[in-house]
Amino acid sequence: MSVATIIEKCRADDRAALIGYLPVGFPSVEGSIAAMKVLVESGVDIIEIGVPYSDPVMDGPVIQDAAVRALAAGVHLTDIFTAAREVSAAGAGALVMTYWNPVLRYGVERFAADLAAAGGAGLITPDLIPDEAGDWIAAADAHGLDKVFLVAPSSTPERLEAVTSQCRGFVYATAVMGVTGARASVGEAADALVSRTREHTDLPVCVGLGVSTGDQAAQVGRYADGVIVGSALVRCLTEADSDEQGLEALGSLARELADGVRRGRS
């Protein structure tokens, strides 16, 4: 099922959807799935299941660190299918966020088939632009999967048109020029980018990069259809003294963010 349906439902409640990122495999595969379920219970609508990758050029130190530790702990690509199954069973949308080479290595068509079979909604592809995505677009179309490509503050009108015309599910608007990581303020670039993106598409536009607090979620939720939070959530786990403490911190931040998107437009 496309995550667009979930975002529509949130829109009907006059709020932005809350989308939370966690890498599979940190602190362990089971531990990461337990953490994803905590997010769902705490009011996160869509889980972005991250594939840890050796060379994450779009990620800042927090997510890099989690990826390194997940890989050292022995995570495998196929673990995301388990995570997708459990996340969708828990009632949230299960989108996978991955750099391109792991999918390429697995086989694009085979990956799409297995992801669809596991109940995954689709893919967010930070280093794959639609121009290079012919195989993925064909496979996603064949299996009814979401194709979430990114737009950036630097995107020209031509790029916005080219990218949004290939998206399904939503369009991922990166709030700032830079890598993932919490930032003191999300900035005006995001608001302007969302408006510019809407000139080219009726798809939901969700904003990510830098959001870490309930207030920021409320603020971004006023103009975006979805608020994406990554590093701030991941840090709850990487900086915890124990797994239990990590889940507690995670749940409390998720509730704060969920509250944020709910009061944003009131």
Partner: protein, 419 residues
Amino acid sequence: MTTTSNVPAYGRFGGFGGRYVPEALIPALEQLEEVWRKAVVDPEFVGELERLQRTYTGRPSIITEVPRFAEHCGGARVILKREDLNHTGSHKINNVLGQALLTKRMGKTRVIAETGAGQHGVATATAAALLGLECVVYMGRKDTERQALNVARMRLLGAEVVAVDNGSKTLKDAVNEAFRDWVANVDTTHYVLGTVTGPHPFPEMVRDFHRVIGVEARQQVLDLVGRLPDAVLACVGGGSNAMGIFHRFIDDRSVRLIGFEAGGEGVESGKHAARFSAGIPGVLHGAFTYVMQDEDGQTVESHSVSAGLDYPSVGPEHAHLLESGRAEYRPISDVEAMEAFSLLSRTEGILPAIESAHALAGAMKVGRELGPDAVLLVNLSGRGDKDVHTAAEWFGLIGDDGSPRLPDDDGAKGMGVQQ
């Protein structure tokens, strides 16, 4: 590979190449391509680059025939293209001057670069000093240690050197860090990528800035021996010095093009950078090309005594030359490279970069295969000053504490060729 079926040929060499980068960088790549394509047909740009090559780099670089070294190459005639004599000590300056001039044309004020051996970082720091640009160079921590001299050179030239502690702490991780910087600062910053990989247009553009190597060498060899060489040999890290010397010869079908990768401790050991022996096609750093990777598509760390060849991927045009059969690629082990390093030093008085020593070791093999009638053109991509410490340690000329070890000391191996 399947990915070639639906992809446009744009920015591709056969099925290889492309632009696998975050959307945020696409406008910068489009701008770069536009400015570059206009510049290379603009007499002012072409004239300025030629002037710098002549009066700053010292082009044309000479060729040197090396008969005493050639005795160890089956008696074949061996001719070196002396990129080591360029200002800053390697071929890297050819590309950097071109990109630095483009940086000015784009109105940008800051350049960043990745570096492995430090030669590309030194060249970039040099061009930045010359043209008044701010310069930050990313270098893996391991490489800052084994190429300490070049770290000091870059800092003396006014560049900031950032040691990268992620992953394997080598070139691959420096490239990741440079991309991260670029995404955040692309308004003011140009990424001077140092080899023929990365997203389009880098592979093609960097190749064209190095093409002068082969253009000069082809004529110089014709003038010296009256015919084309039988083979052109170069080491292949990312592949820029090799593409630079190969390109002019691609249509000369009688000339074999042979690239030498870092075989490290041997391809069987797994500790190497022999992408064409052990890699498979995939994506790394913006290009679809050969990548050393595990079954999950995670990049596998490379190993080599040579920092400049210690990289798990390779330029996409080389992947194409391999698959089309126009070029061949072979691994050279650390031991073979260091033997050639020693041999050229002792027989010809030329201290090569350890990277280039891989091509020299290749000449020893190919010369023995082809025999005394053969003419080999070898790209001596850089000089070995930066490698004196590594080589001195390798040959036991200094102790662990860096103090000199004299020949009668226990354990000093001297610098024998039998290493």
